[in-house]
Symmetry: C3
Subunit: 351 residues, 3 copies
């Protein structure tokens, strides 16, 4: 499925400077290497500059500085990657769900579904839930009692919200995500785990995106809270009582333990893990698969783990690592001896 | 949604010593810092003791020793955290599903659903399955052929059980969990993977909890087995043939490889990974994100991984780590030389 | 549920040399230790050879070399594990879904479902989708617009395919898997993340297996591509634009970041993570929980991480690890001093 739009329309939509014929037809987007003569491309990363000379793209989104010497058709914009983001939606083949409630959906009598919302086949909406205007509830979704989806939200097929989950405006939730699951709360009574009811809810801000199969547990007493503009990738685990500040982004497979508090504008790369009850300040970047075991109070980049090696070499490193404390002590001991010897030597050579 | 109960009723329910008016109305639970005048709080962790002086809680669950000098209303109990766990259920706003089979549920003719069970909308129960009294099968659940759910179980919406999964009594399963998936079994024939049918099932004990999007694969030949009282958090992977002992708990994102056998009363923190075919004895605690590559035969705490550092420092550590074996050899070499020199020195000073 | 088949039939099916009565009845498969007198077992791993003497198995799949001295009934085959894989399907109790479309399934008018396909209860098949002959679409599955499932595919209950996902022949997809989710693409505009529409699709080859709750995101512009014969275990994350070569296998909880390209016949053990935009050549084996931060150009085995220790010892190692760069510098310094001293010593003893 392809859209068709002219180069002139794209220029107007972006406020870009057009170099080339306004009536050229554009049917899609592609990388510089793969673009065909009907597709627009972009140059954002300087390392792809070399592909400019040979691209077959209908036109390229370029910074004015990068356009010098480029003679083929182009759209000049201050931030080509952002421009690409903006026009990408014009070419999105994602089907638009019809407004209205599918006849197979089960909606509780006292639930509210705005007439300008869409509810898919076999969706179930429980008592007291509220679905605002412009919301899409996908096929097989479940919206628990008293849960709320704000205006313009889009829920893929098969999203589950337990009760008392409050979702802001324009929130996107991918398939398999579960909001409001019962957090991992147990009290140990002589070796046996006694369940603690999770009586809090979940509050999600505006413009949040939640990835495939991501889980956000409800709070133990108060709500688990996700700020505005937060972007969560796939397979993420957010435990009970976690708080995430505005515009923080997390890549896939991140795990955040209970009651951790993460600041604004943070970035957590894939596979990062946080222990519970710690605090991460604003503006922190954590590299992939890092184990965060303490609070971070200074913005900046943080890492843990070891670099990959051929397995045979790694086995030696790993074996040595287990004796690192011993090595450190022996090094210190050696320093003392050498210090004594060389001082002694000096003394004797002085003598 | 809030429940209302009196302080006197709570004291009676808990067998607690009441300090304060029995007719005080309580509507919920909260932490010491956040509790309002209608909410009960608790002091379990000594580091929160400082908040006792300023809490607005209606009453606080306290050990008698901690209550000395505390003059506001209190409930004296031997284990405040356990007491909190017990009363938490009185304030749980989780809706109770109506008894009976929803008209849209598809139940096989030869499946058995106890009249005192609840089956939600669009649930599907296959041939030969058996649902005991007091069980809740949530909306969109799928119960495969011959699978069994014991008395008092609670399945959240969208839980999937394949065929031949036997679940004990009072088991809680959160949304997105999949029990009985086909384990990862393939035989390699000249570089091509040939599937091995997974003909075993899954056996789950009593009082088990299984978290959101957790997967427990069926056995290759015999059953995968989860003991009584085991608690599994979200996003956990339990491979085929795994055996987990009674009252073991695992935090989120743990991955257990095939045929691993874990003892009783173990605790695995978040993100821990186990290789296959190993055995962990009873009473083992494994810290977060540890890679367990060998059997553990002694109870105690185990760890792997490296501590987080600022990324610039970490890059240096990680680079050095790759040459650790070389460093260790050089250190040994140096020790020999220094030993020779200092012995020589001694010898010469002796001479 | 058990099948019954004779030893002679198994021998014929496998082309095995039969040692024992052809009319012996076999009802299942089990390990050497657990097999009863109606079950066939196999010896693949030499370390289980010791169980041959005491097994109660009806017959054992053996290499001719291993059968020397074994006097009980046996099936002689060149590769017992592969033979076990092949006969395992004869004993699989997995129910076979009836051909045809369940009356509760919602199939778009312009979708195509082959009359020899099976579509389960409450499945939804969207506009333009095509389901080939011999395909099973499980209960609660969702097949998005224009998506295609090739001949002989088997989708467990509750599998979600977004639009424009093309799946080859004989592909097995376990419950909770999501194909075609919107990848994690955002452009940062002054600290605010702007969504990039994910306009590519997903292409899955023939004979692929996709595990429980595994996620494969659609491409940003072009397709995410999974080669023929690829086997993906549970809880795996495949980000947008990833390419995976034929016959590569990944164990559970692996995470592959965007635009990574993985060769043919690779094996990634559980919990491995790859950063984005790197390339792994054919024939690479990565051990469990390794963090792959750079391209791999040579076949072979690769690892990262540290070995598990008792937690008290580990804390010392981890603390030292943070000062490894300092240690390395001190070692170098010491080497220089010792070199100077010993040369000096030599010089002086020479003089």
């Amino acid at each position: 499925m392809t859209a068709t739009i002219t180069l002139g329309q794209l220029a107007e939509f972006l406020g870009a400077t057009l170099r080339g014929p306004a009536d050229k037809h554009i049917t899609g987007l592609a990388t510089l290497q793969e673009a065909g003569p009907d597709q627009v491309s972009f140059l954002a990363n300087p390392q792809y500059r070399k592909f400019l000379a040979t691209t077959h793209a209908a036109a390229v989104l370029l910074k004015p500085a990068d356009a010098e010497g480029y003679t083929a058709d182009a759209l000049l914009v201050p931030d080509p990657y952002l421009a690409y983001a903006r026009i990408s939606h014009l070419f999105d083949p994602k089907p638009k769900a019809p407004v209205g409630v599918h006849p197979t959906a089960v909606v509780a009598e006292d639930a509210f579904v705005d007439p300008a919302a869409s509810v898919g086949a076999y969706a179930v909406i429980e008592s007291g839930a509220r679905i605002a205007a412009g919301v899409t509830i996908g096929v097989h979704c479940y919206i628990g009692a008293r849960s709320v989806i704000g205006e313009g939200g889009w829920l893929a097929p098969r999203v589950t919200l337990y009760h008392d989950v409050r979702v802001g405006q324009r929130v996107v939730i991918q398939s398999g995500a579960v909001l409001g699951g019962e957090g991992f709360g147990f009290a140990n009574e002589k070796g046996v785990w006694q369940k603690i009811a999770q009586i809090g809810g979940v509050t999600i801000g505006d413009d949040v995106e939640i990835g495939v199969n991501t889980a956000i547990d409800r709070g133990a007493m108060d709500d688990t809270r996700i700020g505005n503009g937060v972007k969560l990738d796939n397979q993420i685990q957010i435990a009970h009582n976690v708080q995430i500040g505005d515009h923080t982004a997390m890549a896939a497979c991140v795990g955040i333990s209970g009651s951790a508090k993460i600041g604004k504008h943070c970035m957590l790369a894939g596979g990062v893990g946080l222990v519970g009850h710690i605090e991460i300040c604003d503006g922190v970047f954590v590299t992939g698969m890092t184990m965060v075991t303490r609070s971070i109070t200074e913005p900046g980049a943080y890492s843990s783990g070891t670099a990959m090696q051929p397995a045979a070499e790694w086995r030696k490193s790993a074996a040595r690592m287990r004796h690192l404390d011993d090595m450190a002590r022996r090094l210190q001991q050696l320093e003392k001896i050498v210090e004594a010897v060389t001082s002694g030597g000096k003394a004797s050579s002085d003598g």
